[in-house]
Amino acid sequence: MIVAHRPEELPPARRAVAIGTFDGVHRGHLRVLDAARTAGPLTAGPLTAGPGMEGPNLEGMRPAVVTFDPHPRTVFGSDVELLTTLERRLELLAAAGMEDALVLRFDEELAALEPAAFADRVLRRIGAELVAAGEGFRFGRERAGDLGLLEQLGFDVHRVPLVDNVSSSHVRTLLAAGEVGRAATLLGRPAEVEGTVGHGDHRGAGLGFPTANVAVQPDLLVPALGIYAGAALGHPAAISIGTNPHYGGTARRVEAFLLDFEGDLYGQRLVLELWERLRDEAAFESEAALVEAIGRDVERTRAAVRPV
């Protein structure tokens, strides 16, 4: 996938464009991306039958995505806990079959653009002939632009209805409550938390469970505190999201013990899949009791099943 930050950076082509913020790249987003990837004839009905009505993509449109960073709502003054980093979002968009991505810097200037100017300077500029988006998609000054306007301007428009209950905010609510299984159903893949492995207290190694201490960027959502079964780098992983109350900690840490893994992860980016929430974190009577509890977590992690 080619990643560009300005329209002119993309090579000229006719494109079928999916547009949206796509935080989390959940099942609803996938429908929009699929609409761009597999765009069919403009409309059904008696007038469209007959030769020459192959789907536009059979004419060779490149599936492309136009997305925004930072999250538009943060520019309008709301705090948004992100489900995905931009890097992860782009990986997922590529996996969904997008061949080009245009990441537009969302700022007050972009938000103030006249809708027709946005269509001209962004969509036309990258050769968009078909535009797919969720039916509620709005753009431009005072959010006055919608898919109807794009139709008037001569784009093929695919309006993708909301998938029942699947929204980034619903996923956020579920994750904040630790409901990683239900979140996975909405996402169409396991819930994740992502970060860079740094140095922790090196306490786990002494207990027999060396953990990777994952530093998470501050605008990313971290699910509810607790102990989770999951996976990372293809290994089962017992994951602790918490403050290490046994040691009287207060700062939130994300730590993962990768089963059957040997090696150095320091400085690496790590995407942790969270499959199942096992228990609340707790302070124990003794270190031996803590080690025993972790041992049980590890056994349950080995038995855990990847959702979806």
Binding site: A44, T48, A116, E129
Partner: protein, 227 residues
């Protein structure tokens, strides 16, 4: 395959038949021209009449054409209400048609600046959900009002409970809402004019050819916009 062309540029006046969606007509015209094709306002599938389709470079004229006044001819069946205000919905209620005097009294309240509830069958959102979806689920919703201007509303004929009306309205007026306010539903709807353009000058989608496109300069002159 080259990108969709900016030429031929111009505005096609097309007389949409009943049945296809406006977008099917857009696609049909585009097959003829090979140009990108937009429009200056759609018609429901059951409706017929004037569509302004914008070809090539003229798609940029959409913004100065969508707000034009419209003229419609409609048969309003005053013997039944339907769930959508048009013939595609289910009959909700059978009614006794009013006499001519009562019809005229009802019409009198619908001229000028009026506020009408948006039809339940429309795509407007109520509490985050499409009105037509709520309606389909049987949820009773209070539809928001929309301010409309009715410049003229004349009865052409009134027989067997069906009133043939000639309406001149501002952009954004739902004729279905007027039919509902009269106590009936639109049995047919035909758009006869959009601003200075008349369906009399339109061709069927099949008869369209690029030579029928009105040049952009003429469009701008006729709507009185600076070129």
């Amino acid at each position: 395959m080259p990108p969709r062309a900016l030429e031929p540029a111009g505005v096609a006046l097309v007389d949409k038949p009943a049945g296809p969606s406006s977008f099917a007509v857009v696609a049909q015209i585009r097959r003829v021209t090979g140009a990108r094709t937009g429009h200056a306002g759609t018609l429901d599938p059951f409706a017929t009449g004037l569509l302004l389709l914008l070809s090539g470079r003229a798609t940029t004229l959409a913004s100065c054409l969508v707000g034009l006044d419209k003229r419609y001819l409609t048969d309003v069946d005053l013997t039944a209400r339907t769930s959508t205000g048009d013939p595609e919905g289910e009959v909700m209620e059978r009614l006794e048609a009013p006499d001519a005097g009562e019809l005229e009294r009802r019409l009198a309240g619908l001229r000028g600046e009026i506020e009408l509830p948006i039809p339940t069958a429309s795509a407007v959102k109520i509490g985050g959900e499409r009105a037509y979806r709520l309606a389909r689920r049987g949820v009773e919703v209070e539809m928001p009002l929309r301010r409309s201007t009715v410049y003229a509303l004349d009865v052409i004929a009134y027989t067997s409970g069906v009133a043939t009306l000639d309406l001149r309205v501002g952009s954004g007026t739902y004729v279905r809402a007027i039919a509902e306010a009269l106590g009936g539903h639109c049995r047919t709807l035909r758009r006869t004019e959009v601003g200075p353009f008349s369906v009399a000058d339109a061709v069927s989608p099949e008869a369209f050819e690029p030579g029928r496109l009105l040049p952009e300069a003429e469009i701008l002159r006729r709507v009185g916009a600076p070129a």
